[in-house]
């Protein structure tokens, strides 16, 4: 079943494109420490709001343009004519622990200090936006996956139990679902965060966000899974399993789960964007990931300054573009997946 879905997906240009794009993004995230020229916290107060560095070719080798600050108050920089610094590839940079384990120094590219390469400019304290974008992706891209795993498990257990057993369990579960759905999600997010945050260190905020998002997201999935379980319950193979005396839990896992797998897959793909957006929103409001950590939402929060608006410092908005691209890719992929899994459900296409 999953193999068939995957094959179909790869044969559709849109689906294959999305898969490749997402694969690329996640690969960059995995190797962000190697790809990023600097640590996300590496400041240089002399170079605040530095514009993106121009790359020039000199003797067929890439060099970076050197800039000098013209006016510190309005963060204006001017390229120094003719002065360039060579870009060195696979050069040692600041030390880091690769995947938190292996100490390493090698970075994809570096320049001679005190010069700095800013592919996407620098922020208010001279930190490299490009590096922060890569490190932020670790949070922003992983949170959706972890959240969705917890949510779909919860949704399956609650929805499956409610649909299969019916009766009082069903009644209770569905009232609970209605209750969660009746509260605007961001209200609930913020209230939950207010209650939980005090019990965690700021560095553990990631865990808090995952918990909160999962507590909210399961309701919609549970409702639909319950409906599907209700119809599955009447099917001959389930009745047969019951007659043979299989335990309820086994029936849920062995017979319900495979039949719901395609729905779960589509629903998961289509709800990952919601998690990415919610994390970004929380961090943007200052309620999510805290400094010195970094995530795309937090970076956008720091871009919310009058100076940024009036001086047109567009590179500080790149995290927004990154969120946008990720979310749109997941949305398109989800729609293609749905077409593959259930051709009847197409949006009239």
């Amino acid at each position: 079943m999953l193999k068939y879905v995957f094959q179909e997906l790869v044969h559709r240009p849109l689906g294959a494109g999305c898969l490749v794009l997402l694969g690329l993004m996640y690969a960059c995230t995995l190797f962000s420490q190697f790809l990023a020229p600097y640590q996300p916290t590496d400041q240089d107060l002399e170079k605040a709001y530095h514009p993106p560095t121009r790359i020039v070719l000199k003797n067929w080798r890439p060099h970076i343009q050197v800039y000098e600050q013209v006016d510190p108050a309005s963060a204006r920089y001017k390229a120094v004519e003719g002065e360039t610094v060579p870009l060195r590839f696979f050069a040692p940079g600041e030390e880091y622990r690769f995947w938190g384990l292996i100490p390493a120094k090698m970075r994809l590219f570096q320049v001679q200090k005190p010069h700095r390469v800013y592919l996407l400019g620098s922020d208010s304290t001279g930190r490299d936006v490009f590096s922060r974008l890569l490190y932020g992706a670790q949070v922003s891209l992983s949170i959706g996956f972890i959240g969705i795993c917890i949510t779909m498990t919860l949704g399956f257990v609650v929805g499956g139990v409610a649909g299969y057993f019916g009766g009082r369990a069903d009644f209770l579960a569905m009232r609970l679902v209605e209750f969660v759905i009746a509260i605007p999600s961001l209200y609930l997010l913020i209230a939950l965060r207010g209650a939980l945050a005090e019990y965690f260190e700021p560095e553990q905020m990631y865990v808090v966000i995952v918990i909160i998002l999962s507590l909210i997201g399961w309701a919609g999935a549970a409702r639909i899974i319950r409906g599907m379980a209700l119809s599955l319950r009447q099917r001959p193979f389930v009745l047969a399993a019951e007659v043979m005396g299989q335990s309820s839990w086994k029936i849920l896992v062995r017979h319900f789960l495979p039949n719901l797998a395609s729905y779960l897959l589509v629903a998961a793909t289509l709800s990952i964007p919601a998690y990415i957006l919610a994390e970004a929103a929380l961090s943007f409001l200052g309620l999510g990931i805290q400094e010195p950590g970094t995530s795309w939402g937090l970076m956008l929060k720091q871009a919310q300054e009058l100076k940024v608006f009036t001086l047109n410092l567009w590179w500080l908005f790149t995290p927004g573009a990154a969120i946008f691209i990720t979310v749109i890719t997941f949305n398109v992929l989800g729609d293609v997946l749905r077409d593959v899994v259930d051709p009847r459900q197409q949006m009239g296409r």
Binding site: P184, I190, F309, T310, I323
Partner: protein, 323 residues
């Protein structure tokens, strides 16, 4: 109709009760109590704090506090805000209309754009226009509201065409009535566009899908066979049927608007309920948080109720009183 209304309102009461208990519980779980912030402020007299402690039973466990809060609420007393030093009820009275206007305008804007776009996309299915509009829908659904709001503020700051934030200009108080209205409208343009953008896309997709369903329906073929003109078939026979699901989707869309308004109001400094909730939570103004969250939920429920009533009014096949 009346019995339907009564049933719906009766069903909403336990839900609201549950929500208030939940929010209250969440507030109780967080360390500290309602008065922690007030106690640290030197300009608040001690007698006042003691009186508040007594009034809201702060030295007792949370369920006792909840009971006393509930008793106060039933009498219309939502407590007092530390930030603004006015009763919470007054604060809500200022903020709720602002959010209501913004949400209503956003829905209206979304409908005005989405219905024609969706209809055209369905009629000219698979044309360039259809492709473009579906691309637009993907984009609008995927762009985070707060990012769009940031871009809008940037646009306003750079061009000066629209105000950067707020609901009124500085000299608003001194304007005659009509220029005051114009001033409001001028401030509302960008927030409405930003908040409504996602809804445009959702409405449009629903509209297109339904329209396509009904184009293939038997009664449409019948109408065509009778010799009814194509325009009349599309706009009278198909459109009137296809529009109903939009109404029932409005409840869901209102929920996302209320969530989105927290972000948009914050970025655009719009004095609505969302901004109030966020600000109150950050500064632990807890009476305000509980009351404002509750109000948001009531708004959502009312919105759903109105959507159901509208649907019954549009579609004579739906009988609310039955079953």
């Amino acid at each position: 109709m009346l019995s339907f209304l009564i049933r719906r309102i009766a069903a909403a009461v336990p839900l609201l009760f549950g929500i208030s208990v939940l929010v209250f519980l969440l507030m109780a779980i967080a360390p500290g109590d309602f008065l922690d912030v007030a106690r640290t402020q030197q300009d608040i007299p001690e007698e006042y704090i003691e009186r508040m402690e007594e009034e809201f039973a702060l030295d007792q466990p949370w369920y006792a506090r909840y009971a006393s809060w509930l008793g106060n609420v039933v009498q219309g007393n939502f407590g007092e805000s530390w930030i603004y030093r006015i009763p919470v009820a007054d604060l809500l009275k200022q903020r709720i209309p602002a959010t209501l206007v913004l949400s209503a305008l956003s829905i209206l804007f979304a409908l005005c754009i989405a219905i024609p776009l969706g209809v055209l996309a369905a009629i000219f299915k698979d044309s360039i226009f259809d492709r473009l509009s579906s691309m637009f829908a993907y984009a609008a659904l995927s762009i985070p509201e707060f990012f769009l709001a940031l871009l809008a503020v940037m646009f306003a700051a750079n061009t000066g065409l629209f105000p950067v934030g707020g609901l009124t200009s500085m000299d608003h108080e001194f304007m005659p009535f009509w220029s005051r209205m114009v001033d409001y409208a001028h401030h509302l343009v960008l927030p409405t566009l930003v908040l409504g953008m996602g809804s445009v896309a959702s409405y449009m997709r629903i509209m297109r899908a339904n329209f396509l369903d009904y184009i293939r329906a038997d009664f449409v073929t019948t109408a065509r066979a009778k010799g009814v003109g194509e325009g009349r078939v599309m706009f009278v026979h198909v459109l009137r049927n296809a529009i109903n699901p939009l109404v029932s989707a409005s409840g869901f869309i209102l929920a996302s608007l209320l969530s989105g308004s927290i972000l948009v109001e914050n970025v655009m400094n719009y004095p609505g309920l969302g901004q109030l909730i966020f600000e109150a939570l950050m500064r632990q103004d807890e009476f305000v948080v509980v009351a404002a969250v509750l109000m948001g939920c009531i708004m959502l429920m009312l919105g759903n109720l109105i959507a159901d009533l509208l649907l019954a009014w549009f579609d004579p096949r739906i009988r609310l009183d039955k079953n």
